[in-house]
């Protein structure tokens, strides 16, 4: 699975990295972010692009799997 590591980055960077990753293909992408509002933004963005998301809390933030 492709992975986007946006940990420690501030808005709007996590979302732009996610957008870029989603443009490259329809395969699952795992996005790592640090803050809750970034998790929400990534989920919103993915859902708007017709993708499903599953989020889990990690040691240092959140992992959003976009399928």
């Amino acid at each position: 699975m492709r992975e986007v590591d946006a940990r420690g980055l501030s808005c709007p960077e996590p979302l732009m990295l996610t957008a870029e990753a989603l443009k490259k293909g329809n395969d699952p992408v795992r996005v790592l972010v640090t803050e809750p509002h970034q998790k929400m933004n990534v989920e919103k963005f993915a859902k708007d692009h017709g993708r499903k998301t599953t989020s889990t809390e990690t040691e240092d933030g959140f992992a959003v799997v976009i399928e």
Binding site: G8, L9, S10, C11, P12, E13, L15, M16, L17, A19, E20, K23, T34, E35, P36, H37, M40, N41, K44, F45, D48, G61
Partner: protein, 299 residues
């Protein structure tokens, strides 16, 4: 209730001696309250995280642009909404610019693909201001309230969550203003610090909208994010202080339309030439950042 982040930053910058415009010097407890409120609630809800290092210096410049644009329009996005709810038509004109500024990136991202990543003496009692700021800061942190973000979400993601919060705020203010007889739909309402130079209202807010999208939040949101641990946003806030100092040291800030106390004549507010040049420069810098910076581009 006059609440304006750019103006409060300007007043605080004045109080710290960063500029010497005497009418606007006061260390605003609201600003302190906002940051502290966001800090406390984020610690309480375990959302506090210290982060830094994503295009920090670019954010400093964006912070300057946020405040310079705001001071040419005479208000940050928050005050724009408050002015709109009081019937000030100049604020409605400026809204056009703000939306266009936020919109530019959604256009940019679709057209250019991923390459576009590309007055100090009038104040509420200190304790009241501080408490008001604390509560507002906590609410803003929890709700993720953001003026630029709400428009971005609607346009880019067709998501109305954030707009509902701003819309609710607008409706509450509107009802309050109508109930207390403060709703006057007009240009140049005496008592509202504003001016009617439409082009510069639009361009000033255009720069603010653009910079806000690039920086990931309006001036209010930057303060809140700084409170919850983002050093990047803290750098943006420092840039806002520098912008406020520049705005008054170099005569960029606009003046508001006011009634002359002696002659009883309405003196029209205006944007000085320096301010006009500064706004154009700010917009150019936004474009340069949007189209050259591969990582600090807009959402």
């Amino acid at each position: 209730m006059a609440f304006c982040i750019a103006c409060f930053i300007r007043d605080t910058a004045g109080a710290l001696g960063l500029h010497s415009a005497e009418a606007v010097q006061y260390a605003r407890p609201e600003i302190i309250g906002l940051v502290l409120g966001a800090f406390l609630i984020s610690v309480a809800t375990k959302e506090y995280r210290s982060t830094a290092g994503s295009s920090s210096m670019v954010r400093f410049v964006l912070g300057m642009i946020l405040v310079i644009g705001s001071l040419v329009f005479l208000g940050c996005p928050l005050r724009m909404i408050i002015r709109m709810s009081a019937g000030d038509l100049n604020a409605w004109v400026a809204l056009i610019g703000f939306i266009l500024g936020v919109l530019i990136l959604s256009l940019g991202t679709s057209l250019l693909k991923s390459s576009t990543s590309g007055p100090g003496s009038m104040h509420a009692p200190i304790l009241l201001s501080l408490i008001g700021g604390l509560i507002f800061g906590a609410v803003a942190q929890k709700s993720r309230m953001c003026f630029a973000g709400s428009i971005r979400d609607v346009i880019l993601m067709r998501n109305f969550d954030l707009l509902t919060i701003i819309g609710g705020f607008f409706v509450v203010m509107l009802i309050f203003n109508i109930a207390t007889g403060r709703f006057v739909p007009a240009f140049d309402t005496p008592g509202v610090i504003a001016h009617s130079e439409h082009l510069w209202n639009i361009l000033g807010m255009y720069a603010v909208g653009f910079a806000a999208v690039l920086a990931g939040g309006c001036p209010l949101r930057q303060l809140i994010l700084a409170g919850q641990g983002s050093s990047d946003s803290a750098v943006t806030v420092l840039g806002m202080f520098a912008g406020a100092a520049a705005a008054h040291n170099f005569g960029l800030a606009a003046s508001g339309t006011a009634l002359d106390a002696e002659t009883q004549e309405l003196v029209a507010g205006a944007v000085p030439m320096n301010g006009k040049v500064a706004v154009i420069l700010c917009i150019v810098v936004c474009f340069v950042i949007a189209f050259t910076n591969n990582r600090s581009e807009g959402k």
